[in-house]
């Protein structure tokens, strides 16, 4: 599948933003984070900023963005529509939560309730995003039990590493948060390795034989219907060389998991403000690594239409 930057950035940014929002909501509501004006402002700006930037970027992928409002109508059948509804609905409790925290300086009562609701909305929205991909049967690498948990794990992972950077920036970092960030990053790493392993061993029942209805033997493409690449090949026939994908998998592992873990471990020993610098670098490196991971998620996915072209 063609890795369009708008979609790669969209899923990475909203994943991290919703992860952070959910953690702020839950930890704020349960008293693990004390209300403070600047912390609240920075936290809400970062999470809602990432979410909004991602959603805006996704409209860049549309042929007719001015009609985007229509996408809220088919939630009965469409995961994409459900994602749209959930993402917009989440802005309501998230906005109230931010208002209570930043303007009224409190994290109890209705503000706590709004925080918890925002967390639920964030998790639901990430699930909807995951299901858009997991539900697509023609793409075996996405139509897999690894896709939905992957989206949730990566969202939680990027969220907690961002939260760690945020709190460390305010000198509020804790060893518990560092440990949790490392654990979630390890979980993300393990999940990605397992997903790649699963995809590399996939046995796809759809072949050029079933695609053409010609039973038995081999079916070899002699001639395409057209001489140049068409929409189908540009959008769904994207191919990546094995050696490139091996390199990019390595880069993903270093940037998204390895380096952040080292920086987070260093955070146990470093004094403030170096601890905050390490935490921020961990978050930045992980975000960059997740962009590469998401690029590969598209580039390595093979659509059944490629079978008609002998690819």
């Amino acid at each position: 599948m063609h890795p369009a930057f708008s979609v790669v950035f969209f899923t990475t940014a909203t994943g991290a933003g919703y992860g952070l929002l959910a953690l702020l909501g839950v930890l704020g509501a349960t008293g693990f984070i004390a209300p403070g004006f600047w912390l609240g402002l920075a936290g809400m700006a970062l999470s809602l900023g990432l979410i909004s930037a991602g959603l805006l970027s996704s409209t860049g992928h549309l042929g007719r963005p001015e009609r985007a409002w229509r996408a809220f109508s088919q939630w009965r059948s469409s995961w994409l529509s459900r994602e749209g509804v959930a993402s917009v609905a989440t802005f309501i409790p998230a906005g109230l939560f931010g208002l209570g925290w930043v303007v009224f300086g409190r994290l109890d009562g209705w503000v706590a309730a709004a925080g918890l609701l925002a967390a639920v909305g964030a998790i639901v929205t990430v699930c909807m995003t995951g299901m858009i991909y997991a539900s697509l049967k023609p793409i075996a690498q996405w139509h897999s039990p690894y896709t939905l948990p992957g989206y949730l794990i990566f969202s939680g992972m990027s969220g907690i590493v961002l939260l760690n950077a945020l709190l460390a920036g305010f000198g509020l970092g804790t060893n518990r948060l560092l440990a949790a960030s490392i654990l979630l990053t390890l979980l993300g790493w393990g999940w990605k390795l397992a997903t790649w392993r699963h995809n590399d061993q996939l046995e796809i029942p759809t072949t050029a034989n079933t695609a053409t209805g010609l039973a038995g033997g081999t079916v070899r493409s002699l001639e395409w219907p057209h001489t140049e690449e068409n929409y189908l090949l540009k959008e769904m026939g994207f191919r990546i060389a094995r050696k490139h994908s091996a390199k990019l998998r390595l880069i993903t592992q270093v940037l998204a998991f390895g380096l952040p873990i080292l920086l987070l471990i260093a955070g146990f020993a470093l004094p403030w403000p170096l601890e905050a610098v390490a935490a921020a670098l961990a978050a930045i490196s992980q975000f960059a690594g997740m962009l590469v991971e998401r690029w590969l998620f598209f580039a390595e996915a093979k659509h059944t239409v490629t079978l008609y072209y002998g690819r």
Binding site: M1, G63, P65, S77, L136, K137, T210, P225, E228, Y309
Partner: protein
Amino acid sequence: MTCLPSHMDKRLGLVIDLDTCVGCQACVTACKEWNTGGHMAPLTDTDPYGGHVDGVWFNRVHSYEHTTEMGGRTVNFPRSCLHCETPACVTVCPTGASYKRASDGIVLIDESKCIGCKLCSWACPYGAREFDTDVGVMKKCTLCVDRIYNDNLAEGDRVPACVAACPTSARHFGDLGDPASAVSQLVAERGGVDLMPEMGYRPTNKYLPPRAHTQRAASVPAKALEPVKAEGGFLGWVDRMLSN
């Protein structure tokens, strides 16, 4: 509404004979010609005379070499929307632009609602939907809704343009929901198949596999020709001279 109809009065579709298709591309051009002025018009071409010709087509004909233990053969293979019974291209559409009609099972796009998110083209395993970069919306085969119900056409012409154009009658149009229809009987008789049945989209269109190879040579009823004899006279002399 992108939920699928629970009941269809008819299941209109095509039956394509891979035995007789000669890959002449007549259906492709007839489709383009009709539809660039039809329901989903225009079928945009970009850079039509340049080095990167591209454009929207509803029907594309591939050629394959099918090799089995019986030998190899060339199979020409027209590919277009199969008007599936449970098509995810419709259910994934967030706007309601894609829909399947309960009256005849035809899968259509309402261009005025389409936001061009392209998700439906990802959801179609067969590559039947093509994005029009010029208009910013998705396009696909309409089974010539604007021909098959068109009172301005003579009754015999009320078939999809591809069917009307095919010089070898490799394309058949009819109601595949009615077991008594000519197309259903053709499918039963020739063992018509679904493409990618494992996807579970339950295509309406069926493909008739090429007939089995035969070991027998074609029998020719005409008598064998006499050998040419040139013994005497001028021609005989020429023959002898040239044979030396």
